[in-house]
């Protein structure tokens, strides 16, 4: 009788799924391609998480510890699933380290890939050192110093450009990445905490700090930290003769073109489908939706389902997702997987 669930990916969603399966008394096999557990918040060196404000290493650390200390979880790091044979209830997965895993169901918590700003060359990333991404600023905040990479000076002005790699048909990204607005307003506050004399400007088309993020992040950064919100989609980032950056665009409220000097320009990069999704789709036999994320089954009665029975998907593997909701979905998928195990037990009885 099979009592094992295979969990692929050890980020927030995968760690939650493995912990959920283990807590119910079943066995979880957790497979992670990186050398470390924790997923993007750890691998990309995030600072404080939204909305808890807790350091990523502490919050993820607790999730990792819970899984590592569980006797019901087997962990394979630096490992990929290379083959999945069988069907719902009796899968056999082959791992890249040679192990073979018998499992009743699979939870894909394979996450996302940050948009690579190189694909928007007009915004200066890769051309000018002082054009960075939100991920790099997260790392600066985690290191406790905000500085221009070109010469280490503390920036007098920072421009955060929203929707980089999101909501842009030109580059085939027709989705909203959901969390960048909130993350950017949070970063604006963190920058101001590290350097109170720095002015932070957020260039936006819309501000989508949904739910309780509205006053806790958007309002707070505006009212308490004096972040300036400018309604303009930047057309181009160039450099002025004095070495500062120039952001060019149209201020749609003043109805005038702008060419404004800045010291640091930050791309609020969106969430792309995991770059490995074609491989994942092939190995696990699941479909991808039109943007390249893993395709969802009917949600109402087949929660977390994919196009293949017995295989569930959670978190940013399905669409841009917050860390908190990824964790909830991981826990939900654990319930689906454990319910499958119980059904098998009843069937064989």
């Amino acid at each position: 009788m099979q009592k094992t669930v295979l969990v692929v990916g050890a980020g927030p969603a995968g760690l939650a799924a493995a912990a959920g399966v283990a807590a119910s008394g079943a066995q979880a096999v957790l497979v992670e391609k990186a050398a470390k557990l924790g997923g993007t918040p750890i691998l990309s060196g995030y600072a404080k998480l939204v909305p808890s404000g807790e350091w990523a290493r502490d919050a993820m650390g607790r999730m990792i510890k819970r899984v590592e200390e569980s006797k019901n979880v087997t962990i394979h790091k630096e490992t990929k699933v290379t083959k999945l044979a069988g069907e719902a209830g009796k899968f056999t997965a082959t791992l890249s380290n040679g192990t073979s895993v018998e499992c009743a169901s699979v939870i894909l918590a394979t996450g996302f890939t940050h948009f690579d700003s190189i694909n928007k060359p007009e915004w200066g990333f890769g051309t000018f050192e002082d054009v960075v991404t939100t991920t790099q600023v997260e790392q600066m905040v985690a290191a406790g110093k905000i500085a221009c990479p070109s010469d280490g000076r503390v920036p007098e002005r920072v421009a955060i450009l929203l929707c980089v790699g999101s909501r842009d048909r030109q580059i085939g990204r027709e989705w909203c990445s959901k969390i960048c607005c909130t993350v950017s307003t949070n970063l604006a506050m963190e920058i101001k905490e590290l350097s109170p004399t720095t002015d932070v400007f957020i260039y936006y088309m819309d501000i989508r700090t949904f739910g309780l993020y509205e006053d806790r992040f958007y309002w707070k950064s505006q009212e308490e930290f004096k972040t300036k919100f400018v309604k303009a989609r930047i057309a181009e980032v160039t450099r002025s003769p004095d070495g500062r950056l120039l952001v060019k665009g149209e201020d749609t409220l003043v109805k005038r073109p702008i060419v404004i000097p800045m010291d640091l320009v930050v791309h609020a990069v969106g969430m792309d489908p995991n770059e490995d999704n074609p491989e994942i789709a092939r190995v696990f036999g699941v479909g991808l939706e039109k943007h390249g994320f893993i395709d969802r089954a009917e949600h109402y009665t087949n929660t977390c389902g994919t196009t293949r029975r017995g295989i569930y998907a959670v978190g940013a593997a399905l669409a841009p997702e917050t860390i908190d909701d990824s964790i909830s979905q991981g826990t939900a998928a654990a319930l689906r997987a454990v319910a499958d195990l119980n059904a098998l037990v009843q069937k064989s009885a």
């Binding site: 004399t197 002015d199 309604k231 005038r256 060419v259 404004i260 000097p261």
Partner: protein
């Protein structure tokens, strides 16, 4: 004509030199007309803070540009150039030059407070209008307003005598604002007063006009008051001009 549709260009962006010779070629007059670019080249990042130091402007940075203020505005209904939402945006970005373009209508706010009552972010737009008007006056962008002239006349008399003389305040105010000393409404007041012939009152008025009586034991009180008001104004002015490092908000 060298430039077509010249009327569409702001006059201030057109530059023409009456006498100009370039490489030996006479290009005087419209031959050298240049159009300055219309793009905005910088923000005054300290301006919003300065406006916040004026009474009424404290919440200007809260604005998210929903437009409720302009939509509810009594004056906007009469004059669509009167746009509080827009001026608040310009204030927050420090686009002073753009604000100055509207310096002659910002004061026309009638303080009906519909904007302040409807504002979802508690920006108090009516207060911002007041703050902007005061800033414009303080910086000399607009002439001293009649209400400031009245205030100064009123206060000047208080400092000097510890009391005000209605007739003198009125006459001096009308004089300083280049208004007729005998406006119809004043004549009407005079007429109605004479109907009752308030003899004692008129005698007092006449005496006070000539002798300028002081409040009993006023002494140096006026001087002290004047100094205090001056001090407070200086403190406010200094707060406005404070270097960024000292305030960083």
């Amino acid at each position: 004509m060298a430039i077509h549709e010249k009327t569409l260009i702001d006059a201030e962006r057109l530059q023409t030199s009456d006498n100009l010779v370039l490489d030996g070629v006479d290009v005087s007059g419209h031959w050298n007309t240049m159009v300055l670019p219309r793009y905005l080249t910088d923000y005054d990042t300290d301006f919003a803070r300065q406006i916040r130091t004026f009474s009424g402007g404290e919440n200007v940075h809260r604005c998210w540009q929903c437009g409720s203020c302009t939509n509810s505005c009594t004056v906007y209904a009469q004059n669509t150039d009167f746009n509080p939402r827009y001026w608040i945006y310009l204030t927050n970005l420090g686009l002073k030059k753009e604000i100055l373009k509207d310096k002659d209508i910002i004061w026309t706010c009638v303080s009906c407070n519909r904007c302040t009552n409807i504002c979802p972010k508690d920006v108090k737009p009516e207060g911002v209008m007041k703050a902007l008007a005061h800033w414009l006056e303080e910086e000399g962008h607009t002439p001293e307003t009649k209400s400031s002239i009245f205030d100064n006349e009123f206060l000047g008399q208080v400092y000097a005598t510890g009391r005000i003389e209605d007739t003198r305040v009125l006459v001096n105010f009308l004089r300083k604002t280049n208004q007729s000393l005998t406006p119809p409404w004043l004549i009407e007041i005079g007429k109605r007063m004479t109907k009752y012939f308030p003899l004692t009152f008129l005698m007092h008025m006449g005496l006070h006009l000539v002798f300028k009586p002081r409040t009993k034991s006023w002494g140096r009180t006026g001087e002290v008051l004047r100094e205090y008001v001056h001090e407070q104004k200086e403190i406010a002015r200094k707060a406005r001009a404070m270097p960024k490092e000292a305030v960083h908000v």
